[in-house]
């Protein structure tokens, strides 16, 4: 780690070459002077065992003054560069010489592949026990039928390769004993691996497609469940309306609906990035749009914006339809006819992370009452609010 100077080297040289210290000193100075001279004359000096010195031109470049920020040009200059000799390079790197560049296992085997591998080896062992090709092929076919829903075409391809391998294996097994059979198996595996490389990409794509399909299916089931529960609630309400007074049903249904409202964002949040706070206003905007006439009356711009932001997720479609029914409309708390705005309760300054829905929940304890705030503040787009915006929170009086 220490710092060695020219005189240190001269000293060592004197000891090594058995010359006087003065001679070594002058030699070292001459050594440097020669390199210097060579650079001046030829602008490059090659010293065997050490490396090459070159005189390089560094061209002008523009830069920015750190203190003033002005544009300045750094003048070009000449620079002595040094490239170590290959022998020197290796010698210096000797402590790390045993390292070699290694290929990273980027395309790590997916689960499907791992299962497939075990499956193929299993069939191979089965084959050994049975020593008949026909039943094993049947087994393979059964497997493919079972896996077709998941694997599709790929499995058929692997089957083809398997059968190929089987043929080779049978030939060998007929002539030789089990040990050679194992060898042939390895040969088969090698050929498979060769084929597996282009397949790997396809498999990845397939895996992606399947995950998308699975997602869609879960969404569809969610929508169905949603629709089923809502329609059930509707039926209950119509049944009960016949027998009992509507006053008793209201809280029941409200609770049920409330459950739905609160559940729906959770179902939606399958991609887990979305927060409930951010998803809630969108959904509310979609579902209540037809029930709140004020929102539609606002300028076309607001509507367009809302449409852009509205992604109309499938599970919510049945609700929007249901909300148009009168029986449900009566019990929807978001209906602007239920309450009356009676002045301003308080003026709230929006802070970071707060939404209109959040304010509704905070002040009324029920986030479905948000249209009153929107109406009271005559907002064009409740999704687009700024930090520091003053929001008047209305006093709500229940209509008789």
């Amino acid at each position: 780690m220490g710092k060695i100077t020219l005189s240190n080297i001269a000293e060592e040289l004197a000891a090594k070459s058995k010359i006087t210290r003065e001679a070594a000193d002058s030699f070292m100075h001459a050594f440097i002077a020669s390199i210097d001279k060579g650079l001046q004359e030829d602008s490059m000096v090659k010293v065997k065992g050490l490396g090459t010195f070159k005189l390089l031109e560094v061209s002008d470049r523009s830069s920015v003054d750190v203190n003033t920020g002005d544009r300045i040009t750094i003048k070009g200059y000449r620079k002595v560069s040094f490239t170590p000799d290959s022998a020197m390079k290796e010698l210096v790197n000797r402590p790390f010489a045993h390292f070699e560049p290694t290929e990273l296992n980027d395309g790590y085997p997916t689960e499907e592949e791992a299962i497939e591998d075990t499956a193929t080896t299993d069939t191979a062992t089965e084959e050994k026990a049975a020593e008949e090709t026909v039943p094993t092929e049947e087994v393979n076919k059964e497997e493919t039928i079972a896996d077709k829903a998941v694997e599709g075409v790929e499995e058929a391809e692997t089957l083809r390769t398997e059968t190929k391998c089987e043929i080779i294996q049978d030939e060998r097994e007929s002539t030789k004993q089990q040990n050679t059979g194992q060898r042939s198996q390895t040969v088969c595996e090698e050929t498979k691996r060769e084929e597996a490389q282009p397949k790997q990409r396809r498999k990845k794509r397939h895996a992606y497609v399947w995950t998308v399909i699975l997602l869609l299916m879960t969404m569809a089931t969610g929508a169905y469940y949603h629709y089923a529960t809502v329609s059930l609630a509707e039926k209950q309400s119509s049944d009960e309306e016949k027998g009992q007074s509507s006053m008793i049903i209201k809280p029941n249904l409200q609770e049920e609906l409330g459950m739905e409202w609160e559940e729906s964002p959770k179902e939606q949040s399958l991609p887990p990035m979305e927060e409930q706070g951010t998803t809630a206003p969108k959904e509310q905007g979609d579902s209540t749009e037809p029930t709140v006439p004020t929102a539609q009356d606002r300028g076309n711009q607001a509507l367009e914006k809302e449409r852009l932001t509205a992604e109309t997720p499938p599970p919510l479609v049945p609700i929007t339809k249901d909300l148009q029914n009168k029986s449900l409309k009566d019990i929807t708390p978001a209906d602007t006819t239920d309450y009356r705005i009676a002045g301003t309760l308080v003026t709230h300054e929006l802070r970071n992370g707060e939404t209109i829905i959040y304010l509704t929940k905070k002040y009324y304890g029920d986030k479905r009452l948000w249209p009153y705030i929107v109406k009271h503040n005559q907002m064009n787009d409740f999704n687009n609010v700024a930090i520091g915006q003053m929001i008047n929170i209305p006093i709500l009086e229940k209509k008789p």
Partner: protein
């Protein structure tokens, strides 16, 4: 200027036959190597500094095949010219 010319020039400067000069140069380089191996910085005030630096390992991607390689760490010999040398060549 190649190695031969360099040694000829050096032998002329120190008034020694080329054979001995070559041996001396070889010895000097052996000494330098010894220092580099011990991770020592050789600083020649009128010329520059030789320093062994460690390059960290890195991941490099072959652009044509898309394969990723882990390039191991390595030690390289670097040279930085001294200000004296820089001024000498940029005097004009």
């Amino acid at each position: 200027m190649n190695n031969k010319e360099f040694i000829a020039e050096l032998s002329k400067q120190i008034n020694l036959p080329i054979g001995t000069t070559a041996k001396l140069v070889d010895d000097t380089i052996r000494i330098l190597e010894e220092h580099f191996l011990h991770d020592e910085t050789v600083s020649i005030s009128s010329f520059g500094t030789f320093e062994v630096k460690k390059k960290m390992e890195r991941i490099s991607v072959n652009p044509t095949t898309g394969k990723r390689y882990l390039i191991p760490p390595k030690l390289v010999l670097g040279f930085k010219q001294s200000n004296v040398l820089k001024e000498k060549f940029n005097a004009e």
